[in-house]
Amino acid sequence: MHTTTLAMNTSLLMIFALLIFPLLTSLSPTPLHKTWAVTHVKTAVKMAFLVSLLPLFIFLNEGAETIISTWHWMNTLVFDINLSFKFDHYSIIFTPIALYVTWSILEFAFWYMHADPNINRFFKYLLLFLIAMITLVTANNMFQLFIGWEGVGIMSFLLIGWWYGRADANTAALQAVIYNRVGDIGLILSMAWFMMNTNSWEIHQMFINSQNLDLTLPLMGLILAATGKSAQFGLHPWLPSAMEGPTPVSALLHSSTMVVAGIFLLIRLHPLMENNQMALTTCLCLGALTTLFTATCALTQNDIKKIIAFSTSSQLGLMMVTIGLNQPQLAFLHICTHAFFKAMLFLCSGSIIHSLNNEQDIRKMGGMHNLAPLTSSCLTIGSLALTGTPFLAGFFSKDAIIEAMNTSHLNAWALVLTILATSFTAVYSLRVVFFVSMGFPRFNTSSPINENNPLIINPLKRLAWGSIIAGLLITLNLLPSKTPIMTMPPLLKLSALLVSILGLLLALELASLTSKTFKALPNLPLHSFSNMLGFYPSIIHRLTPKLNLILGQKIATQMIDQTWFEKIGPKGVSSINLPMIITTNDVQKGMIKTYLTLFFLTLILALFISII
């Protein structure tokens, strides 16, 4: 075999082998030693990352992509399911990034979960999640993708409910599973449609066979799947609730990898969507609505992890908008850059929470810049990258997206919403930085704050480097498949920057008001709307179960038991017949004269009938 092919295929399959090996060692009956998490899991992920760099560099050098089909799994006369890995530019770039971020998070998690007696199981779950995610990303057919899809869903459930003694954690885990399941309905619908109409689950074959078909139904299914997995509006409440899980879980699953699975699905299957205007408009409007709604909710949250979670949701909405703009590569770019700074934001928040003795309310933090300088610096870097500060990582993806949006013929409403959400991003980012690192401490001085642990510092530094240069690196090395529009009026070009600066100034003004009494009474309705997450969870989580239970009662008790069985069925029959029976018997009084009179009357009646 050719050297390049051999090198690529071997290294890609080595990644899987390296990741699966610790899982296999954990199957042995002897208990794992205390540092198994570090010696086996973290090392495996680090090795896998280094191995994955080889295919990445081969791709960057030669543009070589590969599809590996290894095993005929289930093959019938008319339908094949094979084990098939697709390493195109999406998965070749995403895999090293995912492994890099996971490596940093695992190192951090070893410090964060140090006191947990089940730390080995925790790392095993994280590793299993990672394998499922890589399976999803490298899947060449829908079956394998579905395996990865479900795998990440289940691991999300197990990891969110890690502290299962806490009722809120169990509720949040259940919420995650249920909302994801609703999205899975769409995915299964699409899979069934493709199986029936294109006779294949292999992605390239689906593209070819569906060229002349009307794809609206399966695309709506895929969009539903993405709505569930990537927390778009309608199926979004599980993402902020998922913050009940430990911070490494939030960093890995709910910022970088799992939640982008929905968007990744749409990116992979984008050629199907290119020409379907309805699907594109749906993505656009749904994404725009999501990004503004969640950014609004983030403005008034007081839990630092929730703010970052809503920020994730908002960025996911932005990715959905990008897909609606017919720009899958920009969406993918944003996925990659977003992974770095969002993971870093979560790790910073984890470090702060742990230092402050598990305090998560930003109103009770403050002055961390002097107490934990590296952490708060990384927090600042991450926030700047998030808002799209020029030439940091987020700028290359976010600015490109907003430029593409400004210069395309599309729904002006979606445009306005996205611009507004961009400014909100600046507002809540500043809010976090202001409350956490600026000002004076608002907490008790009982816990010693020491961030001088290499287990914290190294991950943060690695991710900070990523947040700064990743955007540039990826943009320099990827050829855009769609021509970007380079010329536009200066106002449009600068719009993203301007609204971000506007948001920043507004937030600074609001922040300076925190030490003054500007208004005697606060403006509560808007604040309540934002703080209560638009009342969406309050309504839906109570209304839907109530309606279902009422429906159940109506059907089972009222309709079946009371109506069909009693009024209409057996008892109805007897209650109708009873008067007739009584009448028939009561007439028999033994009076012959009555009988003969009745006979006479019947005779008259019969004569009338016969004569007329």
């Binding site: 029976i581 012959i592 009938i609 016969s610």
Partner: protein
């Protein structure tokens, strides 16, 4: 009663019916009916207790009214059309009056009121004769005039009879009244089909006679006249009691017993004549009767009612009365259904 008188009365009973069978002139038919009535009256009062006398009186009044009306109708027909022959009745006045009169004689609804009370007042043997032999003569006349009677009247009488037979029997615990209402219902079925296929009506009557005979004789074996008595009849003759269940279900018209045959053929004929709704309603009314037959089966064989220890032994003794007719009619009631094609061939073609 003196055996000579008894013989004479029995003979005259037969004579009356036979005369009606053999006649084609209305006056002779009327004569036969009157001889029949007069013969059975002393038979009914054989036991002189007041209840029997009351039943006899009611019977006499209704039958006399009916016979007088038959005479009136045939005379009117002779006056209006000049015809005395039974099957040449044409005037609607006469045919309707004849129909009602025959209905009164047979005990069809809506003029059925005498039937339950009369049968209740008699012992089981006389009740048997009333239910079976006494239906033959009027039925023969009905067969001959049915083609000229207004079909609406026939259908109404038939449907009403099945309904009343069903509703009436549901509130009864006396076996004779139950069998009276069963007679009303079965006659209703016959009247329904008589305008479309007289042979089928005859077959239906024949099967009904066989079934009722076995029912009455089975009850007579254990001398049970109420449901309570029937409930303890299993101690006296277990074999006949278990067969009694099947006889009752045959009366109800359940396959695979004989009683299903007439209902099945009647429903088929009705549907062939494009009257599915009528067939449906008739079948629904059969459900009403089914309920009280099932209730009887329930008390007879499906549950054990309370007994004292000494009551458990009568079956060990030789039975005091045996009827040779009982086994024959019982077997016919249970097993005749597979012979339907042969019977049809004999009866219809």
């Amino acid at each position: 009663m003196s055996p000579y008188v008894f013989t004479l009365l029995i003979f005259n009973l037969g004579l009356g019916t036979t005369m009606t069978f053999a006649s084609s002139h209305w006056l002779l038919a009327w004569m036969g009916l009157e001889i029949n009535t007069l013969a059975i009256i002393p038979l009914m009062t054989r036991q002189h207790h007041p209840r029997a006398v009351e039943a006899t009186t009611k019977y006499f009044l209704t039958q006399a009214t009916a016979a007088a009306l038959i005479l009136f109708a045939s005379t009117s027909n002779a006056w209006l059309t000049g015809e005395w022959a039974i099957n040449q009745m044409s005037h609607p006045l006469a045919t309707s009056t004849i129909m009602l009169a025959l209905a009164l004689k047979l005990g069809l609804a809506p003029v059925h009121f005498w039937m339950p009370e009369v049968i209740q007042g008699l012992d089981l043997t006389t009740g048997l004769v009333l239910s079976t032999w006494q239906k033959l003569a009027p039925f023969a006349l009905l067969l001959q005039v049915s083609s000229t009677v207004n079909p609406l009247i026939l259908t109404l009488i038939g449907l009403l009879s099945t309904l009343i037979g069903g509703w009436g029997g549901l509130n009864q615990t006396q076996l004779r009244k139950i069998l009276a209402y069963s007679s009303i219902a079965h006659l209703g079925w016959m009247v329904l089909i008589i305008q479309f296929s007289p042979p089928l009506a005859t077959l239906s009557l024949l099967i009904y006679i066989i079934m009722t005979t076995s029912a009455f004789l089975t009850f007579k074996l254990t001398s049970s006249t109420t449901m309570n008595a029937l409930a303890t009849s299993w101690t006296k003759s277990p074999m006949m009691t278990s067969l009694a269940t099947l006889i009752l279900l045959s009366l109800a018209g359940l396959p695979p017993l004989t009683g299903f045959m007439p209902k099945w053929l009647i429903l088929q004929e009705l549907v062939k004549q494009d009257l599915p709704m009528l067939a449906f309603f008739a079948a629904m009314t059969a459900l009403l009767s089914l309920y009280f037959y099932l209730r009887l089966c329930y008390t007879v064989a499906l549950t054990s009612s309370p007994n004292t220890i000494t009551m458990l032994t009568p079956w060990r003794l030789n039975p005091t009365q045996t009827s040779p007719l009982n086994p024959l009619t019982t077997m016919l009631t249970l097993a005749l259904l597979p012979l339907t094609p042969a019977i049809l061939a004999l009866v219809i073609y």
